[in-house]
Subunit: 249 residues, 2 copies
Amino acid sequence: MKVGVFDSGVGGLTVARSLQQSGCFSELLYYGDTARVPYGNKDKNTVTRYALEAVEFFNGTDVDCLVVACNTVSVTALAAMQQQSNKPVYGVLEPGVLALQQLEGIDNDARILIIATRSTINSGAYQQRIQALGFHCVDAIATPLFVPIVEEALFEGPILRETMHHYFSELVKPDVVLLGCTHFPLIAPQIADYFDGAKTIHSGEAMVAWLKQELGLTNHFSQTPIQLLASENVEALQRTAKHWGLAGT
Amino acid sequence: MKVGVFDSGVGGLTVARSLQQSGCFSELLYYGDTARVPYGNKDKNTVTRYALEAVEFFNGTDVDCLVVACNTVSVTALAAMQQQSNKPVYGVLEPGVLALQQLEGIDNDARILIIATRSTINSGAYQQRIQALGFHCVDAIATPLFVPIVEEALFEGPILRETMHHYFSELVKPDVVLLGCTHFPLIAPQIADYFDGAKTIHSGEAMVAWLKQELGLTNHFSQTPIQLLASENVEALQRTAKHWGLAGT
C-alpha cells in the first residue's frame, strides 16, 4: 500500500516517520505546502481551500490512500477533503482519541490536557470527542509558540522551558497530554518531564495503530522509501526529514 | 497624499502607525496577506509571486503611492513590484540604511547589528549597503523567533529574555541595532536594554523621514484615517491594530 501524506509544512514528517517505521507500507509520498505554512493561525475557509488544492494534487498520483498529517487540517477540512478525494482520506483526530481511550491505566477520572495550535483548540473538536467518551477532567490550551521553537530545532533548553512554564504553570498536572499538533512529538520528552512523567499521545503513533486496526495491516516491509515534495524549497524539507531521522532522506 | 501599505501580515502596522503619526498623509490603505503569512522563511520566488499579487490589488485602488512595510518583501521583490506597479513603490531598506547614516554620534567605527528574518539576512542586502557606506563592524543574524513572540504579544518577560540571550549572548555589544523586521519595534526597548542602551533603527520612523525628504512632505493632517484589509480574518488584523495603538482602529 502506497500512502500519501499531506501537511502544511514539516510537522507531518513526525507522522511520516511513524508510518515509515511501522513497516506496514510499501511507499510514502509526502507533500508539504511550505509556500503557505503555517496553517495553525489561519481561518477555516483558507485552510479548507488550501487542503482541497492538496487533494487535487493527490488525486493525480498513484497513492492508495491519503493521511492528513496535520491536526489543523484534520480538524478543519477532513470532511471536505473526503468528499473531493478519489481515495480514502484519514485524519489524525479519530486515531488520537482512540489512542487515549486505549491507554492502559487511564480511566474516565484521568486528567487530560490537549495542546495544539489556536485553530485546533478553538474548533473544540478534540474536547467534544474526548468528553463524549466520558472523560470529565479535560483542559485544552493553544500553545502556538511550540511550533516555531520546534522549527528552530530548540528541542530543549531555556527557551522551551520558559515557554512551557508560560503555558503550563497555572494548570493542574495532567495524567495524559494529547499532542494535538504534529510538531510536538519532538518535544514530547520535555513535556512529559515537565509534568513528572505524564503520558503523551503522538499523532503519528496513533495513526499507525488506527490504520493497522482499520485496514487489518501487518508489518512486512523492511524498508519504506519516502518521496518528499513541497510547494517551495523542497531542499529545506529534505534537510528537516534527515535531521528528524526519516530513513533514506 | 493617500498611501497604500503592504505587508505579509500584521508586522507592517508598526510602519503604518509611524506614517499615521507623522501627519504627512491624508489617508492610509493597509493590506496584509494574512492568509499566507509569514513570508520570512519562504523563498524568493514565492515571496515575489505573492508581492506581485499585492501590486495587482493596489493597481486597482486610488492610492498615490505604495509603501512596502515588510523587510522581507522589500529586500526580495521591490524591483519586480516597481516594474509592475502603476504608482511609485517604496521599500524599507533604503530608508533604514539612510537613517543609520544620519544617526548622531555614530561614525564608521561604530558596531552595527542587523537583526531580521532568515530570508532578509540571507539576502545580504542590508549588509552590502551598510558596508558600502564604510561601516566595517557589521554583524547580521536571523532572529526568527522574535516574530511569533511579538505576535503572541509577549513584549517582555522571561521568554523574550531567554530568546534574546539565545541570539545575542555571543555577540560583541553593538552601538546600533538595525531592526530589519517590522515586528521588532514592539520589542525595541527590551533589545536596547539588553545592549545597555544601544540605539535602534525602526523601519517605520526611517520610512517617514525618508518620504519627507524624498517627496518634500510637511506635516499638516491632524488625522490620518486608516482602512484595513486582509486576505483573511480582517477582524484579527483590526484587533492587533487597536492593540498596537493605531488611531481610529
